[in-house]
């Protein structure tokens, strides 16, 4: 057996999944063809808010090729889509000021439509064309009622659900209000207050959501293929909460999935309706979202309106931070919606700084918009944006260099534990180290000289920094349970060694772009000292994998990878027993080195891995009492989150005449702990930066607050970042391994998104600082918004 010489852990190995993706041979939900397939088309509300006086489906039913038409009234015995995060005082959830209103979210609404795109009926036909045509023949008698879509108008807007608290979904607070008040009253304190709008975003995964539901009458088994980041969670929620069908009779498969960014974590109406309807019509049903449906119905992200205040000493020490945020949850509570603007947001407001006191209040509101839930970063980008923007505003108020102000306030280098003021404990960090490295790569002094020279020519150059932190490796079950999660957030990993020494890994993590098939194979091959070609990684199938909590929150390597590592340890321990028997040695004298079991220090007395695996399955000469087989499963529940951090710098040029912003340079130094595959991590950082720059400059879901219509419902209107709008990034790393898990990996999936948005906005504000600009309220920084800011500054407003 070939034995790899160098360690695979830490090598930039090309992704083994890419040849099939880039040659069009991926296996996506929409590629699935089943005999007897039918196709679903959903009838959706064209109104933001309307009562349903009646639905006439007779014409649709009569349309050629139509198999069935269902409305909400047909779905008797079906429950609301669940919200998996509770915020209630009686559950002792910390920080609850007003209990979460658990409003119903029926798969097909039958009383009121609460946002544009809310589904009210489904048409199922022999072809997609027939279903789509017939859906136009469903006649709904609408009674439009006033709507509200704007976050800051929600509380006083028309009531969306029949709950006593109106459109206030919950109120929540964290930190020390009294200490924060005191900090702001410190003698000589300089305070800044800013309105910060973190606009609504659409995830825009390349593959739209899709599902195929197949009920087999003969066995009573239901198989659901669905674009999911967490098929076991989909199965659990759908079986136990919505449809009341036995979990062991349901198999959920998430095959190749083309991107998620959070939007494919959640249980959606369409897969529930198709699963239910397949049991009724006893035929498979397929539904694939059009891009327009994706814009209207995929959970949106962000949408906060915040008033933030920062108190600083004259010397530049941050004394206090006070944050009041209104978070738009949309019309319904999506699966993890309440967690995002609370425990994934407030807990990150300490940033990388030693802050005197912090207090944050969050009000979640309902509006007539698509539900808002986790979107790449989920709460952490919003927190980072508030803090990094406020630090720059503070630096401007003190006329201090923004990098210098950051240095003055960094938490000193530590390993093991740093208790923040907002309920979390950081695992390890060297924040000044990341900024030092950034400054080496990015010649700051030289830039300031260039900037000065450019200004003299009437050119507006600016630099923005972001020294960020984020929480990954989500999450210790006990902790999240105490905070209101309805689930544990461990992960499972099975390592099955076949008789020939080939290995199949079954992971509860799900790859929808992350490259797990490569990274995990690399991890396993490295650990067992076998070639990567001998390792196969299976994911995304409840029928094959023990259990899984899935992929989000940058948890796959740290939580999923550790579960695999635990199983590898078990494999090697059992292997030692077998090897000891074969070598006639004591198990405690056996070590595993480079793919073989050997007597400690005596490589000549050894058995290769493949011989041990064969013995495990052909146990003729075998230790007494030991079970045959070499197949181990582990569940890993992390003891803490991991906290990656870093320092990013962005240089922009603003065209004074038009307000157009061009990103000229981007330098990122990230610390994600140990890195299994640097190329894959770089790719995640690159994509993340693009998404964060996209939020800063171009993206934004816009609703018309009068009509409630989604104005940015297509890629012609909603500006996604494109390659020619971005510079070549410079990326670098510092490495501070986490003590939380044995791999020392922290998580890399979201860092770019979290760090880049404030870096870009800070750069634009810096570019305009010569005109007296110290803040811009809202993103994206479209050319017009920047131009208006320039005009106002020139007019002395």
């Amino acid at each position: 057996m070939a034995v790899t010489e160098d360690r695979l852990f830490g090598k930039s190995i090309k992704r083994r999944e890419d040849p099939r993706f880039i040659t069009g041979r991926g296996n996506y939900v929409d590629d699935l063809k089943l005999p007897g397939m039918t196709y679903a088309a959903f009838v959706r509300s064209p109104h933001a808010h309307a009562r349903i006086k009646g639905i006439d489906v007779s014409q649709a039913k009569a349309h050629p090729g139509v198999v069935a038409v269902f409305t909400g009234k047909d779905m008797t015995g079906v429950n609301s889509l669940p919200c998996g995060w509770d915020l209630r005082k009686e559950k002792n959830i910390p920080g609850v000021v007003q209990d979460l209103a658990m409003v119903p979210h029926m798969p097909l609404t039958s009383d009121v439509a609460r946002h544009v795109g809310d589904p009210v009926a489904v048409v199922i036909a022999d072809s997609q064309a027939a279903a789509t045509d017939a859906a136009e023949k469903v006649s709904v008698s609408w009674e439009p009622i006033p709507a509200v879509t704007a976050t800051d108008k929600a509380e006083k807007g028309p009531k969306i659900h029949d709950v006593p608290t109106g459109n206030v979904a919950f109120k929540w607070a964290l930190g020390d209000a009294a200490a924060t008040d005191a900090a702001f009253k410190t003698a000589g304190a300089v305070t800044v207050k800013k309105r910060i709008v973190n606009q609504r975003l659409v995830a825009n995964a390349m593959e739209p959501r899709a599902c195929v539901a197949r009920y087999e009458d003969a066995t009573g088994e239901l198989t659901l293929w669905v674009t999911s980041q967490n098929p076991h969670v989909h199965r659990l929620l759908m079986c136990a909460f919505v449809l009341g069908i036995p979990e062991h009779k349901v198999r959920v498969i998430a095959p190749d999935v083309g991107g998620g960014f959070g939007s494919k974590i959640f249980l959606y109406n369409e897969e529930v309706v198709c699963s239910w309807a397949s049991r009724r019509i006893k035929r498979p049903i397929r539904w694939t979202a059009s891009r327009r449906e994706a814009y209207m119905t995929d959970a949106h992200g962000r949408d906060h309106v915040t008033d933030a205040e920062l108190a600083l000493s004259k010397e530049g020490k941050i004394l206090g931070l006070r944050v009041k945020t209104t978070a738009n949850l949309g019309a319904y509570l999506s699966t993890f919606a309440p967690a995002v603007p609370t425990f994934l947001y407030g807990t990150l407001l300490n940033g990388v700084y030693a802050i005197g006191a912090i207090h944050v209040e969050v009000t979640g509101v309902f509006t007539n918009t698509t539900a808002v839930d986790a979107y790449r970063g989920a709460g952490r980008p919003e927190a980072c944006y508030v803090l990094e923007r406020m630090v720059d505003a503070g630096a401007a108020a003190l006329k201090m260099d923004p990098a210098e102000l950051r240095r003055k306030n960094f938490i000193p280098k530590f390993s093991g534990a740093f208790n923040t003021l907002v309920a979390v404990t950081y695992d390890s960090g060297d924040y000044a180290g990341a900024l030092d490295k950034l400054m080496q790569v990015f010649d700051y002094k030289k830039f300031r000289a260039e900037q000065e020279a450019a200004r003299k020519q009437g050119r507006l150059l600016g630099v923005g920094f972001s020294t960020y932190i984020e929480a990954c490796s989500i999450a210790p079950s006990k902790v999240v349970g105490a905070l209101g999660a309805g689930a544990g957030l461990y992960e499972s990993g099975t390592v099955r060694v076949h008789p020939t020494g080939m290995v199949t890994v079954y992971t509860g993590s799900h790859s929808h772009g992350q490259g797990h098939e490569t990274t995990f194979a690399q991890l396993v091959a490295d650990d067992l000292g076998i070639p990567m070609e001998q390792v196969e990684v299976i994911h995304g199938d409840t029928g094959q994998i023990a259990f899984g909590m899935g992929t989000y929150g940058s948890r796959s390597a740290s939580v999923g990878g550790t579960a695999i590592k635990m199983s590898l340890n078990k494999i090697k321990e059992k292997g030692k027993l077998i090897a000891a028997h074969l070598l006639e040695a004591s198990p405690k004298d056996i070590e595993f080195v480079k793919g073989q079991f050997q007597v400690k220090g005596v490589p000549a007395k050894s058995v290769p891995f493949g011989a041990v695996s064969l013995t495990a399955y052909v146990p003729h000469n075998y230790p007494e009492g030991l079970e045959p087989g070499l197949d181990e499963t582990s569940f890993y529940d992390p003891s803490n989150f991991c906290f990656p951090f870093g320092a990013h710098a962005c240089v922009v040029e603003v065209e004074p005449e038009t307000g157009k912003v061009t990103v000229v340079r981007y330098v990122a130094v990230d610390d994600v702990g140990n890195v299994i595959n640097p190329m894959i991590v770089d790719g995640m950082v690159h994509g993340g930066i693009a998404q964060g720059v996209g939020q800063a400059l171009w993206e934004g879901a816009v609703y018309d607050n009068d009509s409630g219509q989604l104005m940015t419902g297509s890629m012609m209107d909603y500006a996604m970042p494109k390659a020619d709008m971005l510079p070549t990034y410079v990326t670098d790393r510092t490495v501070t391994p986490t003590p939380v898990n044995p791999l020392g990996v922290k998580g890399a999936g979201e860092t770019g998104t979290i760090a880049s948005t404030p870096a870009v906005v800070n750069a634009v504000v810096d570019a305009l600082s010569g005109l007296g600009v110290d803040h811009i309220d809202a993103m994206p920084l479209t050319a017009e918004r920047v131009w208006k800011t320039i005009q106002a500054a020139k007019a002395g407003k």
Partner: protein, 289 residues
């Protein structure tokens, strides 16, 4: 994204195409590339019962010279225009405009005639059509007629082509020596359509004095228009001196019914009209030598 059902026709003569149009009247739509029509059909915003594809009608494609004119077949694609040697040497601004329409996929299928007959208010070529003085040759049951560009764009997605006519070719005078032309736009960050686009064709006497100015503005209003104020401000002026172009460009939004949308208020888009009028004229003057 399934369009409503329709019947597809692929006539092989202009006469057959006109016959199909006569037969199906307003239930029919011409397909001339389809990069505007097909997306609208997939969204079911357009639901024609009959689609008459012009791609197999002979004689509608290509670029040729006819005396001092360039003749462009209506079914000539953007890619053909941007790579055509006659266009390059005789009126390069048309190719330059074509080269920034949409993306390569759009340019490989989208046609100049399809676009100019569709008259999207944010399309690029209408500005260049006005500045260069395009003439539109339409053929109908009663034969051919020619429409001047100033009579072509009549309103939002509305042109002078009659319901029973097909735009068959575009005629444009080749640019003489000493004439400079340029099209510049401020693209929508999502669609890359023009938020504002301005084309300028400037004739100078060799000493910097403008003898003729032709300026078209697209994007900002419901239809592309001629910037008469800018033209008047330039004509007869010496453009070499500082401020002359800038002063003329101040009329860049005159006559434009500027529409506010997500990409800009009326105030901002009118400002962009002035900025891009200045930039396009400056670029054209530079080329005029």
């Amino acid at each position: 994204m399934y369009p409503a059902s329709f019947e597809y026709h692929s006539p092989t003569t202009l006469k057959d195409a006109l016959g199909l149009m006569g037969k199906h009247g307003d239930e029919a739509k011409l397909l001339a590339g389809g990069h505007s029509l097909i997306p609208m059909m997939k969204l079911r915003l357009a639901q024609p019962k009959h689609l008459i594809d012009l791609k197999n009608v002979p004689g509608l494609k290509g670029v040729k010279e006819d005396g001092g004119n360039i003749v462009i077949g209506a079914m000539t694609t953007w890619y053909e225009l941007e790579s055509n040697p006659i266009i390059k040497s005789k009126c390069a601004v048309i190719g330059e405009t074509a080269s920034i329409v949409g993306d390569p996929a759009v340019r490989n299928l989208g046609t100049i005639g399809g676009s100019l007959a569709h008259a999207d208010p944010a399309a690029d070529m209408p500005a260049t059509a006005i500045a260069c003085g395009f003439e539109f040759v339409c053929e109908g049951p009663k034969g051919r007629r020619t429409v001047k560009v100033d009579d072509w764009f009549q309103g939002l997605m509305s042109t002078a082509v009659k319901e029973d006519e097909i735009l068959v070719e575009i005629r444009v005078p080749a640019l003489a020596r000493g004439v400079g032309a340029a099209y510049l736009k401020f693209p929508h960050p999502a669609s890359r359509f023009a938020i504002v686009g301005v084309a300028a064709v400037i004739t100078t006497d060799g000493k910097g004095t403008c003898s003729k100015a032709s300026v078209g503005v697209t994007g900002a209003g419901t239809k592309a228009v001629r910037a008469k104020g800018v033209e008047a401000g330039l004509t007869g002026k010496n453009l070499a001196g500082a401020g002359a172009i800038e002063a003329a460009a101040q009329k860049g939004a005159e006559g434009v019914d500027v529409q506010a949308d997500l990409q800009g208020s009326v105030e901002y888009k009118a400002h962009l009209c002035r900025v891009f009028a200045k930039r396009a004229v400056e670029a054209a003057v530079k080329r005029a030598g």
